[in-house]
């Protein structure tokens, strides 16, 4: 079936055009549905779990994404070679590139996502704004793109603070907050530069900044038979430089009535572009609970698991069913939210050093487990965190009957998690789970940057760390002194050393 550049049909073999934890997530859903799976990998990812887990795997080029995961022809080539009839793009990479969705359809391959038209419209922030405004969706007051001089003049008119945003932007790239008129020209230049580098398009516009705003988004699911439903909200206000760090569902500030109103508006926005498959409408909610459309993400979101845990809907399985032309399995009335879920993004970065990314080889990765704990990850001992891909190591998601129970469980799980070889932001999450402001739900999108500091974190186990290191060093020294005393052992010292080193791993 083809309409609006959308192709849905039954398929039995799926290619996953992604890597890392999201490739694993999609592979799992596909295997649960009995589909055959095809992975692709760059030079850096030969040992990656998604390669080992898929039924088939194909090499697609060097480590930099622009020479592998971003090359449309290579992916279509693998689809042809392997006989894959559908492609799931995951998030990032090609997930929101309309030309990729179109190229799939042109090649007779199902793109697990919306039509190229919908991606194109929602991907251009200015067109998205105009489209949803026509559907009576509230938007943040702003100014259309123009020359630097026009923007500076218009900026002075709408007033400060405001945001400079890239029309092709996403994930905070090409976005700059401006608090005073004097900063505006520099901010426009920086945003243009970043957007040009990241998206090949330096077009920017201005938007009024909502102070004390919360970032709350609505998960949507639509089939190709005209049904569109919302799966509740996600609270994503805990961000740093517009990168989400902690997400939860439901939100502390959304009651039944607000949820219904936001859901209805989100559905209307999606229907304005004949949206099919999973999508997310991001809203800014001010302190008086007015909400404004920010943008639509026309793909699976990183933080989808919190919605899965509270609604019981397997979003990735549902995406695959919808792409096969099936109807949604549930109606709006059947969507019930139960309990609370919190997700912490575990990144390879140092919270004590300005969140500087940390590269290196992961030597230990022991995941937390037990009741109510889910970890989505794509790393393993021996995995190298490289500058080629983003710094996310895993997503730790905890469920509880109440928000308090979920937070306490998250504390427990964070303390259980053992990652060595790179620095991680686990202490940041621990500090957040201990913070009064988090536990009482009093935060907005500026909280992490402006009112949260690692410097007031108490050092807990310094003495114990000193003792542990000293005992380990002492034990090492004892082993070494045994090695230098020859004739004391019935085997060669080299053999003994080799055996000892292997035991240590």
């Amino acid at each position: 079936m083809r309409n609006n550049g959308l192709l849905t049909k039954k398929f039995d073999k799926l290619l996953i055009a992604n890597r890392g934890e999201i490739a694993m997530r999609i592979l799992r859903a596909a295997h649960e549905l009995g589909l055959d799976t095809v992975a692709v990998y760059s030079d850096a990812d030969r040992y990656a779990p998604h390669v080992r887990y898929a039924k088939e795997a194909y090499h697609i080029g060097p480590s930099p994404a622009r020479e592998s995961y971003l090359v449309i022809d290579k992916l279509l080539d693998v689809a042809k070679k392997s006989g894959a009839e559908a492609i799931h793009p995951g998030y990032g990479f090609l997930a929101e590139r309309a030309e990729f969705a179109q190229a799939c359809v042109d090649a007779g391959i199902v793109f697990v996502g919306p039509s190229a038209d919908a991606i194109r419209t929602m991907g251009d922030k200015q067109r998205a704004r105009e489209t949803v405004m026509a559907a009576n969706v509230p938007v943040v007051p702003g100014v259309a793109p123009g020359t630097d001089e026009e923007l500076v003049a218009a900026g002075n008119e709408i007033g400060f603070p405001l945001l400079v945003k890239a029309t092709a932007g996403g994930g905070g790239k090409g976005m700059r907050p401006v608090y005073a008129a004097t900063e505006l020209p520099d901010a426009i230049a920086a945003a243009r530069r970043e957007a040009q580098a990241a998206f090949g398009d330096g077009t920017v516009y201005l938007e009024k900044m909502i102070v004390e705003g919360r970032h709350i988004e609505i998960q949507l699911m639509a089939d190709s038979h005209g049904n569109t439903i919302y799966l509740g909200e996600r609270e994503c206000s805990l961000q740093r430089r517009h990168q989400k760090l902690i997400e939860e569902s439901p939100s502390f500030v959304v009651d039944e009535d607000l949820r219904r109103r936001m859901g209805a508006v989100a559905v209307a926005a999606a229907q304005a572009v004949n949206y099919v498959n999973a999508g997310t409408i991001e809203f800014l909610v001010d302190k008086d609970k007015h909400f404004y459309f920010l943008e639509m993400n026309t793909r699976l979101q990183v933080e989808h698991p919190v919605t899965e845990l509270v609604t019981g809907v397997d979003i990735v399985q549902e995406m695959l069913r919808v792409a096969r032309g099936r109807k949604l399995r549930i109606t709006q009335e059947e969507v019930k939210m139960k309990g609370w879920a919190i997700e912490c993004r575990i990144n390879a970065e140092d919270p004590y050093n300005n969140y500087m990314p940390s590269t290196g080889t992961i030597t230990t990765s022991r995941l937390p487990t037990g009741p109510g704990v889910r970890v989505d990850t794509g790393v393993f001992p021996g995995y190298e965190v490289t500058p080629y891909y983003d710094s996310m190591i895993s997503k730790l998601i905890c469920f509880g009957e109440t928000r308090g129970e979920a937070a306490l469980r998250m504390r427990r799980a964070l303390a259980e998690y053992r990652i060595m070889g790179v620095k991680t932001n686990i202490p940041f999450h621990q500090h957040m789970m201990d913070s009064h402001r988090f536990l009482t739900g009093q935060f907005d999108t500026k909280f992490v940057e402006e009112r949260f500091s690692m410097s007031d974190r108490e050092v807990m186990d310094e003495l114990e760390a000193a003792i542990l290191a000293t005992l380990a060093a002492h034990q090492r020294g004892q082993q070494a002194s045994q090695i230098v005393a020859p004739g004391m052992r019935d085997t060669s010292n080299w053999k003994y050393l080799g055996r000892w080193e292997r035991l240590r791993r």
Binding site: T363, T364, R366, R418, A465, A466, A469, T470, A472, A473
Partner: protein, 172 residues
């Protein structure tokens, strides 16, 4: 055997003479310490309080992960400690602070110029890597002695980007 152990600029004197007790800064603790054959995992019972940790030696420091926090610990036995002291290694804290690239990337901007007086936390270099702009800030107050890169340069991991010298004494 006596060790001098440093963590977060705190010094601990730790004596290990028996298998089942240690003395830390004069205080005796019962210990039971074992290395597990699993990725550097160790188990310590310290006065029967149980600690599981991961320890890993790299570049002469011990990295210890306990309850989510990573500690960098240096351990010297008494002899090495005295030798180091005698050689003056302890006091040879160099006046210059070198800012190195923590990872490969591209220089976006170098806001500090040679000769600038900077304070701890000031932006020195902006490096794009891992799809993000990363700000490398001054680790302490000082004067920018050298900036060895310019915007657009590609840099390798550990490449020296800038040097910050001791702050100049002001005329009283």
């Amino acid at each position: 055997m006596k060790y001098i152990t440093m963590v977060n600029n705190q010094e601990y004197v730790i004596e290990i003479d028996h298998d089942d007790t240690i003395v830390v800064n004069g205080e005796r603790y019962a210990i039971d310490f074992h290395s597990l054959p699993d990725g550097g995992v160790v188990s310590l019972l310290l006065n029967n309080r149980s600690y599981e940790a991961v320890v890993d030696e790299r570049d002469e420091t011990w990295e210890v992960l306990v309850r989510g926090e990573l500690y960098s610990v240096t351990v010297q036995d008494e002899r090495a400690y005295r030798l180091a002291k005698a050689r003056g290694v302890e006091t040879a804290v160099h006046g210059d602070v070198i800012i190195k690239s923590p990872m490969p990337g591209i220089i976006i901007a170098a806001p500090a110029a040679e000769g600038d007086v900077v304070q701890k936390g000031d932006k020195i270099i902006i490096l794009e890597s891992m799809k993000m702009e990363n700000e490398l800030r001054a680790p302490r107050d000082g004067v920018v002695a050298r900036v060895q890169v310019k915007p657009g340069d590609s840099v390798e991991k550990d490449q020296v980007l800038a040097v910050i010298a001791e702050p100049q004494e002001s005329d009283e």
